[in-house]
Symmetry: C2
C-alpha cells in the first residue's frame, strides 16, 4: 500500500504511525503543505492532514493529483471542504474528521494510538461508493470508528459548532478576561480555572480556518451564550433563578 500524507503535524504523523502499526509494509510519502502533490498521483490513498484553509487551497489548486487517488481529509469543518471538492469534480474525495488531538498540536505529540476507539466522521455526499468504502476501511485500520454521514456536512458542522467550536472560543476568551482581572493574583487560581481554560492552549493556526468556515453556525451560539451571561449578571442575587440554572446544567452535564 502506498499512502501519501500531506501535512506532517500531530494528525498527519499519527496517521503515519497508526498505518505502520497496522501494516509494517506500508509505503508512506510525507508531503509538506504548499508542495506539489505530483508524487502522490499513484498513491492508493491520500490523507490531507493540514489546517482547514490549506485543505481548501489544495482542493482548489491541486485537483489533478486528487482525481486518481482516493483522498480523505482531517479538517474540523466539513461543509465548505466537501463543497470545494465537489466543485473541483473530485469524486474520489471523502470528507473526514477524526475526533482526536485535543489542544496539543505539532508532530512531537504524535502517536499510533491517537485514533484508537475515537469516531472519525466521513461525509459520503457526492463521493463514489468505492471511495467511501476504501476510506472507511482505512480509518478502521487506524483504530478509529468510522461514522458515515449521508448529508453534505451540515449536521456535522452544526453539532461541532456547539460541542467543539463554542467551548474553544469560550475558553480562549475566558482566560483573557479572568487573567486580566486577577492581575498579579492569578496564582490564586485553582483547578477550576485551569480545567475550564485548557483549550486556550490551542493555536490560531489550526483554528482560524475552522472559525472562518463555520462562522454561520457558531455566530448564533456565541450570541446566545453572551445573552445568557448578560441575563445571569442581573440575577446573581436571585437564589431561585440560580437554583433553576444549576439544576438544568447538572442534568445536561450528566449526559456528557
Amino acid at each position: 500500500m502506498k499512502l501519501a500524507i500531506v501535512g506532517p503535524g500531530l494528525i498527519g504523523k499519527s496517521v503515519a504511525l497508526a498505518a505502520q502499526r497496522a501494516d509494517a509494509g506500508v509505503d508512506i510519502i510525507e508531503i509538506d503543505r504548499g508542495e506539489s502533490l505530483n508524487d502522490a498521483a499513484d498513491a492508493d490513498l491520500i490523507v490531507l492532514a493540514a489546517p482547514v484553509a490549506a485543505i481548501l487551497d489544495i482542493l482548489q489548486n491541486q485537483s489533478h493529483a486528487l482525481r486518481t487517488a482516493v483522498t480523505v481529509d482531517t479538517g474540523s469543518t466539513k461543509k465548505q471542504i466537501v463543497a470545494a471538492a465537489r466543485a473541483a469534480g473530485l469524486e474520489r474525495f471523502v470528507g473526514g474528521h477524526p475526533m482526536a488531538g485535543g489542544s496539543t498540536s505539532g508532530p512531537a505529540g504524535a502517536r499510533a494510538q491517537l485514533f484508537e476507539g475515537r469516531p472519525w466522521f466521513l461525509v459520503a455526499h457526492g463521493a463514489l461508493a468505492e471511495a467511501v468504502a476504501r476510506v472507511r476501511q482505512f480509518v478502521t485500520m487506524l483504530g478509529a470508528h468510522p461514522v458515515v454521514l449521508e448529508d453534505d456536512g451540515s449536521e456535522h458542522d452544526q453539532v461541532m459548532a456547539a460541542v467543539s467550536h463554542l467551548p474553544q472560543v469560550v475558553a480562549t476568551t475566558l482566560v483573557i478576561v479572568a487573567a486580566q482581572a486577577a492581575g498579579q493574583r492569578l496564582a490564586w487560581a485553582g483547578s477550576g480555572l485551569r480545567d475550564t481554560t485548557r483549550l486556550a492552549e490551542s493555536s490560531a493556526s489550526m483554528w482560524e480556518g475552522v472559525l472562518a468556515t463555520n462562522a454561520a453556525e457558531l455566530r448564533p451560539l456565541l450570541l446566545e451564550l453572551a445573552g445568557s451571561l448578560t441575563e445571569l449578571a442581573g440575577e446573581l442575587d436571585n437564589p431561585e433563578r440560580i437554583r433553576e440554572l444549576f439544576a438544568k446544567a447538572n442534568r445536561y452535564r450528566a449526559l456528557l
Copy 2:
C-alpha cells in the same frame, strides 16, 4: 484538643479526618447546621463548614457560643462574612477559605489529604492576634498553607470573582447552550466540552450564597465576557483578529 465542626459535608468531614490524622487524641463534635452551638461553647476551635448563607445566619444568630471559642469558616467569599462577624462583635472569628474541594460535594468524597499543600486564605481584619495565630496553626496542622490577608476580604473576593466564580458560571451556562444546540448529537462531544464544563457538576446549594455575596464583583466580569463574545461573533471570519485573540490567550494560559 476539642474541635467543633458545623456542617459535615465534604469540607467539614475532611477537616475532621485531617485533624484526626494530625492528632489521634482530638475530641471532635459534629454539629449539623441549624442545630444549636451550645455544645461548642467550650471548644478550643470551631470550624463553620457550611454554605455561605448558612454561615451568615450562624454569625448573626449564634453569636453567644462564638464569643468564647476561636472560630474559622470555610466560605468561598469573605467580605460579607467577616463584616457580619465584626458587626456581631466576634473578635475571635477569623474568616477562612480553603482552596480545595472542586466540583464534588458531600461527605462521601471527604479525605484527610484534601487540604494538603493547598492555600487556605485567612482574613485577619478586626480579629484578635491570638485568634489569628491559633487558626493559622490549625490550618497548618491540616496540611494547608495559610495565606493571611490584611484587608477586609475585598481583594480575596475580587480575585475569586475572576479565577473561581466566573469560570463556574461560564461552565454552568455553556453546558446548557451547547447541549441544547447539539440535541440528540451531544454524544459527538469530545474531551474539549467535557473539560470546559466539568464545573457544571457543581450544585446550587453551595453556589447560590457565593454568587449572592459576590454579585458586585462578578457582575462586571460577566458583562465584560459577554461583550467580548458578542464582539468575537462578528470577527469569526477575520483571521488577523483570531490570531491576535489566540496569541493573547496562549500567553495568559501559559501563566496558569
